[in-house]
Symmetry: C2
Protein backbone atom coordinates (compact mmCIF):
# COMPACT_ATOMS: atom_id res chain seq x y z
CA UNK A 1 0.00 0.00 0.00
CA UNK A 2 1.38 3.39 -0.95
CA UNK A 3 0.50 6.89 -2.03
CA UNK A 4 0.18 5.89 -5.69
CA UNK A 5 -2.59 3.45 -4.81
CA UNK A 6 -4.34 6.16 -2.80
CA UNK A 7 -4.05 8.66 -5.66
CA UNK A 8 -5.38 6.03 -8.08
CA UNK A 9 -8.30 5.35 -5.72
CA UNK A 10 -8.99 9.09 -5.57
CA UNK A 11 -9.16 9.16 -9.38
CA UNK A 12 -11.68 6.31 -9.41
CA UNK A 13 -13.73 7.91 -6.62
CA UNK A 14 -13.91 11.31 -8.34
CA UNK A 15 -17.54 12.22 -9.01
CA UNK A 16 -18.69 9.42 -6.69
CA UNK A 17 -17.39 9.97 -3.15
CA UNK A 18 -18.21 13.29 -1.56
CA UNK A 19 -15.38 15.63 -0.74
CA UNK A 20 -16.48 16.28 2.84
CA UNK A 21 -15.72 19.78 4.18
CA UNK A 22 -13.38 20.66 7.07
CA UNK A 23 -15.53 22.31 9.74
CA UNK A 24 -14.87 24.27 12.90
CA UNK A 25 -16.60 26.18 15.67
CA UNK A 26 -15.21 28.84 18.03
CA UNK A 27 -17.07 27.04 20.83
CA UNK A 28 -15.14 23.82 20.25
CA UNK A 29 -11.87 25.74 20.04
CA UNK A 30 -12.61 27.16 23.46
CA UNK A 31 -13.30 23.77 25.05
CA UNK A 32 -10.15 22.30 23.52
CA UNK A 33 -7.90 25.25 24.20
CA UNK A 34 -6.66 25.10 20.62
CA UNK A 35 -8.03 25.26 17.11
CA UNK A 36 -10.18 22.21 16.29
CA UNK A 37 -10.79 21.19 12.66
CA UNK A 38 -13.33 18.45 12.03
CA UNK A 39 -13.52 16.16 8.99
CA UNK A 40 -17.14 14.91 8.98
CA UNK A 41 -17.26 11.58 7.17
CA UNK A 42 -20.78 11.19 8.55
CA UNK A 43 -21.66 13.33 5.51
CA UNK A 44 -20.17 10.72 3.17
CA UNK A 45 -22.61 8.56 1.17
CA UNK A 46 -24.25 5.93 3.44
CA UNK A 47 -23.23 7.99 6.47
CA UNK A 48 -19.65 6.82 6.97
CA UNK A 49 -16.17 6.74 5.43
CA UNK A 50 -16.74 3.07 4.58
CA UNK A 51 -18.20 3.99 1.20
CA UNK A 52 -14.76 5.21 0.11
CA UNK A 53 -13.11 1.85 0.74
CA UNK A 54 -16.01 -0.16 -0.64
CA UNK A 55 -16.10 1.84 -3.86
CA UNK A 56 -12.30 1.80 -4.21
CA UNK A 57 -12.13 -1.98 -3.81
CA UNK A 58 -15.00 -2.76 -6.18
CA UNK A 59 -13.78 -0.36 -8.83
CA UNK A 60 -10.32 -1.97 -8.71
CA UNK A 61 -11.59 -5.46 -9.57
CA UNK A 62 -11.10 -6.89 -13.05
CA UNK A 63 -14.39 -6.38 -14.93
CA UNK A 64 -15.13 -10.10 -15.35
CA UNK A 65 -14.44 -10.81 -11.68
CA UNK A 66 -16.45 -7.79 -10.60
CA UNK A 67 -19.42 -8.78 -12.73
CA UNK A 68 -19.95 -11.93 -10.64
CA UNK A 69 -20.53 -9.81 -7.55
CA UNK A 70 -19.09 -9.10 -4.13
CA UNK A 71 -19.52 -10.42 -0.62
CA UNK A 72 -19.07 -8.75 2.78
CA UNK A 73 -19.50 -9.73 6.42
CA UNK A 74 -20.89 -6.75 8.30
CA UNK A 75 -23.82 -5.62 10.34
CA UNK A 76 -22.91 -2.00 10.03
CA UNK A 77 -21.28 0.74 8.04
CA UNK A 78 -19.12 -1.48 5.82
CA UNK A 79 -22.25 -3.32 4.65
CA UNK A 80 -23.93 -0.14 3.51
CA UNK A 81 -20.81 1.23 1.86
CA UNK A 82 -20.27 -1.98 -0.12
CA UNK A 83 -23.97 -2.25 -0.99
CA UNK A 84 -24.18 1.23 -2.50
CA UNK A 85 -20.87 0.93 -4.33
CA UNK A 86 -21.95 -2.42 -5.80
CA UNK A 87 -25.27 -0.99 -6.94
CA UNK A 88 -23.46 1.91 -8.61
CA UNK A 89 -21.36 -0.65 -10.51
CA UNK A 90 -24.48 -2.61 -11.45
CA UNK A 91 -23.24 -5.79 -9.78
CA UNK A 92 -24.72 -8.04 -7.06
CA UNK A 93 -23.70 -7.60 -3.43
CA UNK A 94 -24.32 -10.27 -0.81
CA UNK A 95 -24.01 -9.15 2.79
CA UNK A 96 -23.81 -11.74 5.56
CA UNK A 97 -25.33 -10.45 8.79
CA UNK A 98 -26.22 -12.00 12.13
CA UNK A 99 -29.96 -12.63 12.30
CA UNK A 100 -30.17 -10.54 15.47
CA UNK A 101 -28.74 -7.44 13.75
CA UNK A 102 -30.91 -4.31 14.18
CA UNK A 103 -33.88 -4.40 11.82
CA UNK A 104 -33.11 -0.91 10.55
CA UNK A 105 -29.60 -1.89 9.48
CA UNK A 106 -30.88 -4.96 7.65
CA UNK A 107 -33.60 -2.88 5.98
CA UNK A 108 -31.14 -0.13 4.98
CA UNK A 109 -28.71 -2.61 3.45
CA UNK A 110 -31.51 -4.27 1.48
CA UNK A 111 -32.84 -0.89 0.38
CA UNK A 112 -29.41 -0.16 -1.09
CA UNK A 113 -29.91 -3.17 -3.33
CA UNK A 114 -27.91 -5.82 -1.50
CA UNK A 115 -29.00 -9.38 -0.88
CA UNK A 116 -28.81 -9.95 2.87
CA UNK A 117 -28.05 -13.48 4.07
CA UNK A 118 -28.70 -13.97 7.77
CA UNK A 119 -26.88 -16.47 9.97
CA UNK A 120 -27.46 -17.67 13.50
CA UNK A 121 -24.59 -16.58 15.75
CA UNK A 122 -25.29 -19.54 18.01
CA UNK A 123 -25.77 -21.94 15.11
CA UNK A 124 -23.45 -24.63 13.77
CA UNK A 125 -22.44 -22.86 10.60
CA UNK A 126 -19.98 -19.99 11.08
CA UNK A 127 -20.34 -16.91 8.92
CA UNK A 128 -16.99 -17.73 7.37
CA UNK A 129 -18.21 -21.19 6.31
CA UNK A 130 -21.34 -19.60 4.88
CA UNK A 131 -19.21 -17.05 3.05
CA UNK A 132 -16.92 -19.72 1.59
CA UNK A 133 -19.96 -21.58 0.31
CA UNK A 134 -21.32 -18.45 -1.39
CA UNK A 135 -17.93 -17.59 -2.86
CA UNK A 136 -17.55 -21.06 -4.30
CA UNK A 137 -21.06 -21.41 -5.67
CA UNK A 138 -21.45 -17.90 -7.10
CA UNK A 139 -17.92 -16.70 -7.70
CA UNK A 140 -18.30 -13.71 -5.39
CA UNK A 141 -15.27 -11.66 -4.32
CA UNK A 142 -14.91 -10.98 -0.59
CA UNK A 143 -14.44 -7.29 0.31
CA UNK A 144 -12.76 -7.26 3.72
CA UNK A 145 -13.56 -4.28 5.95
CA UNK A 146 -9.95 -3.17 6.55
CA UNK A 147 -7.30 -5.81 5.84
CA UNK A 148 -7.51 -5.26 2.11
CA UNK A 149 -5.08 -2.95 0.28
CA UNK A 150 -7.66 -1.34 -2.01
CA UNK A 151 -9.96 -0.66 0.94
CA UNK A 152 -7.11 1.05 2.80
CA UNK A 153 -6.32 3.02 -0.36
CA UNK A 154 -9.95 4.16 -0.55
CA UNK A 155 -9.99 5.30 3.08
CA UNK A 156 -6.71 7.07 2.38
CA UNK A 157 -8.50 9.43 0.00
CA UNK A 158 -9.92 11.03 3.15
CA UNK A 159 -6.32 11.75 4.15
CA UNK A 160 -5.56 13.39 0.80
CA UNK A 161 -8.48 15.75 1.40
CA UNK A 162 -7.31 16.48 4.96
CA UNK A 163 -3.83 17.30 3.67
CA UNK A 164 -5.23 19.82 1.18
CA UNK A 165 -7.85 21.30 3.45
CA UNK A 166 -5.46 21.70 6.38
CA UNK A 167 -3.07 23.59 4.13
CA UNK A 168 -5.91 25.86 2.96
CA UNK A 169 -6.75 26.47 6.63
CA UNK A 170 -3.14 27.40 7.33
CA UNK A 171 -2.39 24.34 9.47
CA UNK A 172 0.95 22.66 8.68
CA UNK A 173 1.69 20.95 12.01
CA UNK A 174 -0.96 19.05 13.95
CA UNK A 175 -2.11 15.74 15.32
CA UNK A 176 -4.82 14.14 13.16
CA UNK A 177 -7.05 12.07 15.44
CA UNK A 178 -8.75 9.14 13.73
CA UNK A 179 -11.56 6.96 15.08
CA UNK A 180 -9.95 3.53 14.95
CA UNK A 181 -11.40 0.03 14.70
CA UNK A 182 -9.36 -2.32 12.50
CA UNK A 183 -7.18 0.55 11.35
CA UNK A 184 -8.27 0.91 7.73
CA UNK A 185 -9.07 4.60 8.01
CA UNK A 186 -6.15 5.30 10.33
CA UNK A 187 -3.54 3.60 8.18
CA UNK A 188 -4.97 5.05 4.96
CA UNK A 189 -4.90 8.57 6.36
CA UNK A 190 -1.39 8.01 7.79
CA UNK A 191 -0.07 6.97 4.36
CA UNK A 192 -1.68 9.96 2.67
CA UNK A 193 -0.29 12.40 5.24
CA UNK A 194 3.20 10.90 5.07
CA UNK A 195 3.31 11.78 1.38
CA UNK A 196 1.26 14.95 1.20
CA UNK A 197 1.43 16.67 4.60
CA UNK A 198 4.41 15.38 6.57
CA UNK A 199 3.81 17.89 9.37
CA UNK A 200 0.50 16.18 10.17
CA UNK A 201 0.64 13.00 12.25
CA UNK A 202 -2.17 10.45 12.46
CA UNK A 203 -3.10 9.07 15.88
CA UNK A 204 -5.70 6.36 16.54
CA UNK A 205 -8.48 7.01 19.05
CA UNK A 206 -10.41 4.15 20.63
CA UNK A 207 -12.98 3.56 23.37
CA UNK A 208 -11.57 2.60 26.76
CA UNK A 209 -11.60 -1.19 27.22
CA UNK A 210 -11.35 -1.61 23.42
CA UNK A 211 -7.90 -0.09 23.05
CA UNK A 212 -6.28 -2.93 21.11
CA UNK A 213 -4.51 -0.58 18.71
CA UNK A 214 -3.15 1.73 21.42
CA UNK A 215 -1.78 -1.28 23.29
CA UNK A 216 -0.39 -2.80 20.12
CA UNK A 217 1.48 0.41 19.36
CA UNK A 218 3.01 0.28 22.85
CA UNK A 219 3.95 -3.40 22.85
CA UNK A 220 5.04 -3.54 19.23
CA UNK A 221 2.86 -6.55 18.39
CA UNK A 222 -0.80 -7.12 17.60
CA UNK A 223 -2.82 -7.13 20.84
CA UNK A 224 -6.45 -8.20 21.08
CA UNK A 225 -9.46 -6.88 22.94
CA UNK A 226 -10.61 -8.99 25.89
CA UNK A 227 -14.19 -8.80 24.64
CA UNK A 228 -16.04 -7.78 21.50
CA UNK A 229 -19.32 -6.40 22.78
CA UNK A 230 -20.63 -3.93 25.29
CA UNK A 231 -20.14 -0.21 25.20
CA UNK A 232 -21.72 2.36 22.93
CA UNK A 233 -19.01 2.59 20.29
CA UNK A 234 -19.98 -0.59 18.44
CA UNK A 235 -19.25 0.97 15.05
CA UNK A 236 -15.51 0.80 15.70
CA UNK A 237 -15.15 -2.42 17.69
CA UNK A 238 -12.83 -5.00 16.13
CA UNK A 239 -10.88 -7.84 17.72
CA UNK A 240 -7.47 -6.37 16.92
CA UNK A 241 -5.66 -4.14 14.42
CA UNK A 242 -5.24 -5.80 11.03
CA UNK A 243 -2.21 -7.69 9.76
CA UNK A 244 -1.89 -5.16 6.94
CA UNK A 245 -2.91 -2.03 8.82
CA UNK A 246 -0.86 -2.51 11.99
CA UNK A 247 2.63 -2.27 10.44
CA UNK A 248 1.57 0.96 8.71
CA UNK A 249 0.27 2.43 11.95
CA UNK A 250 3.38 1.25 13.78
CA UNK A 251 5.62 3.04 11.30
CA UNK A 252 3.65 6.26 10.94
CA UNK A 253 1.25 6.94 13.82
CA UNK A 254 1.72 8.77 17.09
CA UNK A 255 0.57 7.18 20.35
CA UNK A 256 -3.05 6.03 20.61
CA UNK A 257 -5.63 7.80 22.74
CA UNK A 258 -8.68 6.45 24.55
CA UNK A 259 -11.91 8.04 25.72
CA UNK A 260 -14.81 6.85 27.85
CA UNK A 261 -18.31 6.16 26.56
CA UNK A 262 -19.52 9.25 28.42
CA UNK A 263 -16.90 11.38 26.72
CA UNK A 264 -17.89 9.96 23.34
CA UNK A 265 -21.55 10.74 24.06
CA UNK A 266 -20.70 14.26 25.18
CA UNK A 267 -18.64 14.85 22.04
CA UNK A 268 -21.60 13.55 20.01
CA UNK A 269 -23.75 16.14 21.78
CA UNK A 270 -21.21 18.89 21.04
CA UNK A 271 -21.20 17.94 17.37
CA UNK A 272 -24.99 18.33 17.43
CA UNK A 273 -24.84 21.68 19.22
CA UNK A 274 -21.85 23.33 17.56
CA UNK A 275 -21.46 21.69 14.15
CA UNK A 276 -25.06 20.59 13.39
CA UNK A 277 -23.75 17.13 12.61
CA UNK A 278 -25.04 13.70 13.57
CA UNK A 279 -22.17 11.52 14.81
CA UNK A 280 -22.45 7.97 16.11
CA UNK A 281 -20.70 7.42 19.47
CA UNK A 282 -17.87 5.46 17.85
CA UNK A 283 -17.62 8.21 15.25
CA UNK A 284 -17.23 10.83 17.97
CA UNK A 285 -14.27 9.34 19.86
CA UNK A 286 -11.70 11.40 17.94
CA UNK A 287 -13.61 14.62 18.61
CA UNK A 288 -13.85 13.57 22.26
CA UNK A 289 -10.07 13.19 22.41
CA UNK A 290 -9.62 16.58 20.71
CA UNK A 291 -11.87 18.21 23.31
CA UNK A 292 -10.99 16.28 26.47
CA UNK A 293 -7.37 15.09 26.06
CA UNK A 294 -5.76 18.48 25.59
CA UNK A 295 -2.71 17.52 27.65
CA UNK A 296 -1.97 14.53 25.45
CA UNK A 297 -1.90 16.62 22.25
CA UNK A 298 0.72 18.85 20.77
CA UNK A 299 0.52 22.08 18.81
CA UNK A 300 -1.98 24.91 18.52
CA UNK A 301 -4.38 23.03 16.26
CA UNK A 302 -5.85 19.54 16.16
CA UNK A 303 -7.67 17.80 13.31
CA UNK A 304 -10.16 15.01 13.98
CA UNK A 305 -12.37 12.75 11.93
CA UNK A 306 -16.03 12.04 12.60
CA UNK A 307 -16.04 8.61 11.04
CA UNK A 308 -19.78 7.97 10.82
CA UNK A 309 -23.26 9.03 11.84
CA UNK A 310 -25.34 5.86 11.81
CA UNK A 311 -26.64 6.12 15.35
CA UNK A 312 -29.80 4.76 16.86
CA UNK A 313 -32.25 7.60 17.66
CA UNK A 314 -32.57 6.42 21.29
CA UNK A 315 -28.79 6.54 21.76
CA UNK A 316 -28.69 9.98 20.19
CA UNK A 317 -31.42 11.18 22.55
CA UNK A 318 -29.31 9.85 25.43
CA UNK A 319 -26.44 12.03 24.22
CA UNK A 320 -28.68 15.10 24.00
CA UNK A 321 -29.43 14.71 27.69
CA UNK A 322 -25.74 15.46 28.30
CA UNK A 323 -26.51 19.03 27.24
CA UNK A 324 -29.17 19.67 29.85
CA UNK A 325 -28.03 22.10 32.44
CA UNK A 326 -24.72 22.42 30.56
CA UNK B 1 -30.78 44.58 -5.62
CA UNK B 2 -29.30 42.69 -8.53
CA UNK B 3 -26.88 40.00 -9.56
CA UNK B 4 -23.91 42.38 -9.47
CA UNK B 5 -24.51 43.06 -5.79
CA UNK B 6 -24.73 39.34 -5.13
CA UNK B 7 -21.49 38.66 -7.03
CA UNK B 8 -19.80 41.48 -5.12
CA UNK B 9 -21.05 40.00 -1.84
CA UNK B 10 -19.68 36.61 -2.90
CA UNK B 11 -16.27 38.22 -3.46
CA UNK B 12 -16.31 39.75 0.02
CA UNK B 13 -17.47 36.48 1.60
CA UNK B 14 -14.77 34.38 -0.09
CA UNK B 15 -12.60 32.71 2.54
CA UNK B 16 -15.17 33.58 5.22
CA UNK B 17 -18.53 31.96 4.47
CA UNK B 18 -18.52 28.23 3.98
CA UNK B 19 -19.44 26.87 0.59
CA UNK B 20 -21.95 24.33 1.90
CA UNK B 21 -22.23 21.10 -0.12
CA UNK B 22 -25.27 19.85 -2.05
CA UNK B 23 -26.29 16.56 -0.43
CA UNK B 24 -28.63 13.72 -1.33
CA UNK B 25 -29.80 10.30 -0.21
CA UNK B 26 -31.46 7.52 -2.19
CA UNK B 27 -33.85 7.08 0.75
CA UNK B 28 -35.10 10.65 0.43
CA UNK B 29 -35.44 10.27 -3.34
CA UNK B 30 -37.67 7.30 -2.72
CA UNK B 31 -39.96 9.14 -0.29
CA UNK B 32 -40.23 12.11 -2.64
CA UNK B 33 -40.62 10.12 -5.83
CA UNK B 34 -37.99 12.28 -7.50
CA UNK B 35 -34.38 13.27 -7.00
CA UNK B 36 -33.93 15.46 -3.89
CA UNK B 37 -30.90 17.74 -3.55
CA UNK B 38 -30.38 19.42 -0.20
CA UNK B 39 -28.41 22.64 0.47
CA UNK B 40 -27.55 22.45 4.19
CA UNK B 41 -27.04 25.98 5.48
CA UNK B 42 -27.13 24.50 8.98
CA UNK B 43 -23.45 23.82 8.24
CA UNK B 44 -22.81 27.54 7.69
CA UNK B 45 -20.94 29.41 10.44
CA UNK B 46 -23.21 30.01 13.48
CA UNK B 47 -25.52 27.26 12.20
CA UNK B 48 -27.61 29.19 9.70
CA UNK B 49 -27.54 31.13 6.42
CA UNK B 50 -27.83 34.38 8.42
CA UNK B 51 -24.05 34.66 8.66
CA UNK B 52 -23.91 35.30 4.91
CA UNK B 53 -26.17 38.34 5.12
CA UNK B 54 -24.61 39.65 8.31
CA UNK B 55 -21.11 39.44 6.89
CA UNK B 56 -22.15 40.90 3.54
CA UNK B 57 -23.82 43.89 5.17
CA UNK B 58 -21.01 44.65 7.61
CA UNK B 59 -18.31 44.27 4.97
CA UNK B 60 -20.19 46.72 2.70
CA UNK B 61 -20.17 49.57 5.24
CA UNK B 62 -17.79 52.49 4.84
CA UNK B 63 -14.81 51.81 7.15
CA UNK B 64 -15.42 54.82 9.41
CA UNK B 65 -19.12 53.98 9.78
CA UNK B 66 -18.33 50.31 10.36
CA UNK B 67 -15.75 51.10 13.03
CA UNK B 68 -18.44 52.57 15.30
CA UNK B 69 -20.22 49.23 15.40
CA UNK B 70 -23.49 47.59 14.42
CA UNK B 71 -26.84 46.93 16.02
CA UNK B 72 -29.41 44.16 15.49
CA UNK B 73 -32.74 43.17 16.97
CA UNK B 74 -32.89 39.41 17.18
CA UNK B 75 -33.27 36.56 19.58
CA UNK B 76 -32.11 34.02 17.09
CA UNK B 77 -30.03 33.20 14.06
CA UNK B 78 -29.59 36.77 12.79
CA UNK B 79 -28.09 37.78 16.15
CA UNK B 80 -25.43 35.09 15.97
CA UNK B 81 -24.63 35.76 12.32
CA UNK B 82 -24.17 39.49 12.95
CA UNK B 83 -22.19 38.86 16.15
CA UNK B 84 -19.64 36.60 14.48
CA UNK B 85 -19.31 38.80 11.39
CA UNK B 86 -18.76 41.87 13.60
CA UNK B 87 -16.11 40.09 15.64
CA UNK B 88 -14.32 39.06 12.46
CA UNK B 89 -14.27 42.74 11.44
CA UNK B 90 -13.00 43.75 14.87
CA UNK B 91 -15.97 46.02 15.54
CA UNK B 92 -18.57 46.15 18.34
CA UNK B 93 -21.96 44.47 17.90
CA UNK B 94 -24.92 45.28 20.11
CA UNK B 95 -27.81 42.83 19.99
CA UNK B 96 -31.15 43.78 21.50
CA UNK B 97 -33.00 40.73 22.82
CA UNK B 98 -36.10 40.20 24.92
CA UNK B 99 -35.15 39.39 28.49
CA UNK B 100 -37.14 36.16 28.29
CA UNK B 101 -35.11 34.86 25.33
CA UNK B 102 -33.67 31.35 25.88
CA UNK B 103 -30.60 31.50 28.09
CA UNK B 104 -28.58 29.45 25.59
CA UNK B 105 -29.22 31.94 22.79
CA UNK B 106 -28.21 34.86 24.98
CA UNK B 107 -25.07 33.00 26.10
CA UNK B 108 -24.16 32.01 22.52
CA UNK B 109 -24.52 35.56 21.26
CA UNK B 110 -22.36 36.90 24.10
CA UNK B 111 -19.80 34.14 23.52
CA UNK B 112 -19.48 35.35 19.93
CA UNK B 113 -18.35 38.69 21.33
CA UNK B 114 -21.55 40.72 21.11
CA UNK B 115 -22.91 43.02 23.79
CA UNK B 116 -26.45 41.84 24.56
CA UNK B 117 -28.93 44.47 25.71
CA UNK B 118 -32.10 42.98 27.17
CA UNK B 119 -35.50 44.64 27.12
CA UNK B 120 -38.78 43.86 28.82
CA UNK B 121 -41.38 42.88 26.21
CA UNK B 122 -44.12 44.07 28.57
CA UNK B 123 -42.24 47.21 29.58
CA UNK B 124 -42.79 50.83 28.53
CA UNK B 125 -39.77 51.15 26.28
CA UNK B 126 -40.10 49.37 22.91
CA UNK B 127 -37.06 47.69 21.43
CA UNK B 128 -37.18 50.21 18.60
CA UNK B 129 -36.96 53.12 21.04
CA UNK B 130 -34.07 51.39 22.78
CA UNK B 131 -32.38 50.85 19.44
CA UNK B 132 -32.80 54.50 18.41
CA UNK B 133 -31.23 55.59 21.66
CA UNK B 134 -28.22 53.31 21.10
CA UNK B 135 -27.83 54.40 17.49
CA UNK B 136 -27.88 58.07 18.47
CA UNK B 137 -25.55 57.76 21.46
CA UNK B 138 -22.99 55.40 19.95
CA UNK B 139 -23.31 55.87 16.22
CA UNK B 140 -24.21 52.23 15.60
CA UNK B 141 -25.54 51.07 12.21
CA UNK B 142 -28.66 48.92 12.26
CA UNK B 143 -28.39 45.63 10.35
CA UNK B 144 -31.94 44.62 9.48
CA UNK B 145 -32.62 40.87 9.23
CA UNK B 146 -34.05 40.91 5.69
CA UNK B 147 -35.25 44.28 4.43
CA UNK B 148 -31.74 45.45 3.69
CA UNK B 149 -30.22 45.20 0.19
CA UNK B 150 -26.77 44.04 1.32
CA UNK B 151 -28.31 41.37 3.53
CA UNK B 152 -30.35 40.08 0.61
CA UNK B 153 -27.20 40.14 -1.54
CA UNK B 154 -25.39 38.08 1.07
CA UNK B 155 -28.15 35.48 1.25
CA UNK B 156 -28.12 35.44 -2.55
CA UNK B 157 -24.61 33.96 -2.49
CA UNK B 158 -26.31 30.75 -1.40
CA UNK B 159 -28.22 30.91 -4.69
CA UNK B 160 -25.00 31.32 -6.71
CA UNK B 161 -23.71 28.12 -5.12
CA UNK B 162 -26.98 26.30 -5.82
CA UNK B 163 -26.82 27.37 -9.47
CA UNK B 164 -23.30 25.96 -9.85
CA UNK B 165 -23.86 22.82 -7.81
CA UNK B 166 -27.13 21.96 -9.55
CA UNK B 167 -25.36 22.22 -12.91
CA UNK B 168 -22.57 19.93 -11.66
CA UNK B 169 -25.29 17.49 -10.54
CA UNK B 170 -26.87 17.61 -13.99
CA UNK B 171 -30.02 19.42 -12.88
CA UNK B 172 -31.08 22.27 -15.16
CA UNK B 173 -34.83 22.43 -14.45
CA UNK B 174 -36.22 22.22 -10.92
CA UNK B 175 -38.12 23.94 -8.16
CA UNK B 176 -35.81 25.34 -5.47
CA UNK B 177 -37.71 25.27 -2.18
CA UNK B 178 -36.60 27.89 0.33
CA UNK B 179 -37.50 28.13 4.02
CA UNK B 180 -39.13 31.57 4.14
CA UNK B 181 -39.55 34.08 6.95
CA UNK B 182 -39.14 37.71 5.84
CA UNK B 183 -37.94 36.59 2.43
CA UNK B 184 -34.29 37.57 2.57
CA UNK B 185 -33.01 34.12 1.65
CA UNK B 186 -35.84 33.47 -0.81
CA UNK B 187 -35.45 36.73 -2.70
CA UNK B 188 -31.65 36.51 -2.67
CA UNK B 189 -31.72 33.00 -4.10
CA UNK B 190 -34.39 33.99 -6.64
CA UNK B 191 -32.23 36.85 -7.94
CA UNK B 192 -29.16 34.61 -8.20
CA UNK B 193 -31.08 31.90 -10.05
CA UNK B 194 -32.66 34.38 -12.46
CA UNK B 195 -29.19 35.36 -13.62
CA UNK B 196 -27.23 32.14 -13.29
CA UNK B 197 -29.70 29.23 -13.59
CA UNK B 198 -32.90 30.41 -15.25
CA UNK B 199 -34.29 26.86 -15.39
CA UNK B 200 -34.40 26.80 -11.59
CA UNK B 201 -37.33 28.53 -9.88
CA UNK B 202 -37.36 29.59 -6.23
CA UNK B 203 -40.49 28.86 -4.18
CA UNK B 204 -41.06 29.91 -0.57
CA UNK B 205 -42.06 27.31 2.02
CA UNK B 206 -43.72 28.31 5.29
CA UNK B 207 -45.38 26.70 8.29
CA UNK B 208 -49.16 26.42 8.11
CA UNK B 209 -50.83 29.33 9.92
CA UNK B 210 -47.78 31.48 9.22
CA UNK B 211 -48.13 31.57 5.46
CA UNK B 212 -47.95 35.32 4.99
CA UNK B 213 -45.71 35.07 1.93
CA UNK B 214 -47.77 32.38 0.19
CA UNK B 215 -50.91 34.46 0.69
CA UNK B 216 -49.14 37.63 -0.40
CA UNK B 217 -48.06 35.96 -3.63
CA UNK B 218 -51.69 35.00 -4.27
CA UNK B 219 -53.25 38.35 -3.43
CA UNK B 220 -50.52 40.48 -4.95
CA UNK B 221 -50.03 42.62 -1.86
CA UNK B 222 -48.25 42.21 1.47
CA UNK B 223 -50.36 40.08 3.82
CA UNK B 224 -49.66 39.64 7.52
CA UNK B 225 -49.78 36.69 9.88
CA UNK B 226 -52.65 36.70 12.35
CA UNK B 227 -50.22 35.90 15.19
CA UNK B 228 -46.49 35.86 15.77
CA UNK B 229 -45.98 33.06 18.23
CA UNK B 230 -46.88 29.44 18.72
CA UNK B 231 -45.72 26.58 16.57
CA UNK B 232 -42.32 24.97 16.39
CA UNK B 233 -40.90 26.88 13.44
CA UNK B 234 -40.00 30.01 15.41
CA UNK B 235 -36.78 30.51 13.45
CA UNK B 236 -38.72 31.62 10.38
CA UNK B 237 -41.68 33.48 11.87
CA UNK B 238 -41.99 37.08 10.73
CA UNK B 239 -45.04 39.37 10.61
CA UNK B 240 -45.02 39.64 6.82
CA UNK B 241 -42.74 39.56 3.78
CA UNK B 242 -40.50 42.61 3.57
CA UNK B 243 -41.10 45.76 1.53
CA UNK B 244 -37.90 45.06 -0.40
CA UNK B 245 -38.14 41.30 -0.58
CA UNK B 246 -41.78 40.92 -1.58
CA UNK B 247 -41.57 42.61 -5.01
CA UNK B 248 -38.61 40.39 -5.88
CA UNK B 249 -40.47 37.25 -4.81
CA UNK B 250 -43.58 38.43 -6.66
CA UNK B 251 -41.61 38.84 -9.87
CA UNK B 252 -39.51 35.68 -9.67
CA UNK B 253 -40.96 33.02 -7.37
CA UNK B 254 -43.35 30.19 -8.02
CA UNK B 255 -46.34 29.63 -5.73
CA UNK B 256 -45.67 29.25 -2.00
CA UNK B 257 -46.03 25.95 -0.17
CA UNK B 258 -46.97 25.22 3.44
CA UNK B 259 -46.32 22.29 5.74
CA UNK B 260 -47.54 21.33 9.20
CA UNK B 261 -45.41 21.31 12.34
CA UNK B 262 -45.57 17.52 12.33
CA UNK B 263 -44.31 17.41 8.75
CA UNK B 264 -41.46 19.78 9.66
CA UNK B 265 -40.55 17.57 12.64
CA UNK B 266 -40.65 14.45 10.49
CA UNK B 267 -38.43 16.08 7.87
CA UNK B 268 -36.05 17.08 10.68
CA UNK B 269 -35.96 13.41 11.70
CA UNK B 270 -35.31 12.32 8.10
CA UNK B 271 -32.41 14.81 7.87
CA UNK B 272 -31.00 13.16 11.02
CA UNK B 273 -31.49 9.65 9.69
CA UNK B 274 -30.54 10.03 6.02
CA UNK B 275 -28.26 13.07 5.82
CA UNK B 276 -26.69 13.10 9.32
CA UNK B 277 -27.64 16.76 9.60
CA UNK B 278 -29.16 18.72 12.44
CA UNK B 279 -31.99 20.92 11.16
CA UNK B 280 -34.21 23.17 13.25
CA UNK B 281 -37.96 22.69 12.57
CA UNK B 282 -38.21 25.99 10.70
CA UNK B 283 -35.11 25.01 8.77
CA UNK B 284 -36.73 21.73 7.74
CA UNK B 285 -39.93 23.09 6.16
CA UNK B 286 -38.48 23.12 2.64
CA UNK B 287 -37.30 19.51 2.96
CA UNK B 288 -40.76 18.64 4.31
CA UNK B 289 -42.35 20.14 1.20
CA UNK B 290 -39.89 18.28 -1.03
CA UNK B 291 -40.82 15.00 0.66
CA UNK B 292 -44.53 15.45 1.33
CA UNK B 293 -45.84 17.84 -1.35
CA UNK B 294 -44.87 15.81 -4.39
CA UNK B 295 -48.07 16.68 -6.24
CA UNK B 296 -47.40 20.39 -5.92
CA UNK B 297 -43.95 20.13 -7.50
CA UNK B 298 -42.81 19.85 -11.09
CA UNK B 299 -39.95 18.01 -12.70
CA UNK B 300 -37.88 14.96 -11.86
CA UNK B 301 -35.69 16.74 -9.33
CA UNK B 302 -36.24 19.18 -6.49
CA UNK B 303 -33.70 21.28 -4.61
CA UNK B 304 -34.35 22.45 -1.05
CA UNK B 305 -32.52 24.51 1.54
CA UNK B 306 -32.07 23.56 5.17
CA UNK B 307 -31.85 27.11 6.46
CA UNK B 308 -30.55 26.47 9.98
CA UNK B 309 -29.85 23.97 12.72
CA UNK B 310 -30.14 25.90 15.97
CA UNK B 311 -32.68 23.64 17.61
CA UNK B 312 -33.34 23.03 21.27
CA UNK B 313 -32.23 19.50 22.26
CA UNK B 314 -35.67 18.73 23.72
CA UNK B 315 -37.39 19.67 20.45
CA UNK B 316 -34.91 17.58 18.52
CA UNK B 317 -35.58 14.60 20.79
CA UNK B 318 -39.29 15.11 20.06
CA UNK B 319 -38.51 14.80 16.36
CA UNK B 320 -36.50 11.62 16.88
CA UNK B 321 -39.61 10.03 18.38
CA UNK B 322 -41.18 10.36 14.93
CA UNK B 323 -38.79 7.62 13.80
CA UNK B 324 -39.92 5.04 16.30
CA UNK B 325 -41.76 2.22 14.68
CA UNK B 326 -41.22 3.92 11.29
Amino acid sequence: MNIDMIEAAADRLRGHARRTPLLSSPFLDEIAGRRVLVKPECLQHTGSFKYRGGYAAISALAPDVRARGVLAYSSGNHAQGVALAARQHGIPAVIIMPEDAPALKIANTRALGAEVVLYDRAGQQTREALGEELKASRGLTLIRPYDEPQVVAGQGTCGLEIAEQAREAGVEQADVLVCCGGGGLTSGIALALEARAPGLRARPVEPEEFDDTARSLVSGRIERNARMSGGLCDAILTPSPGDLTFPVMQRLCGPGLTVSDDEALTAMAQAFLRLKLVAEPGGAVALAAALYRADALEGDAVICTISGGNVDPAVFAQGLKMLEGG
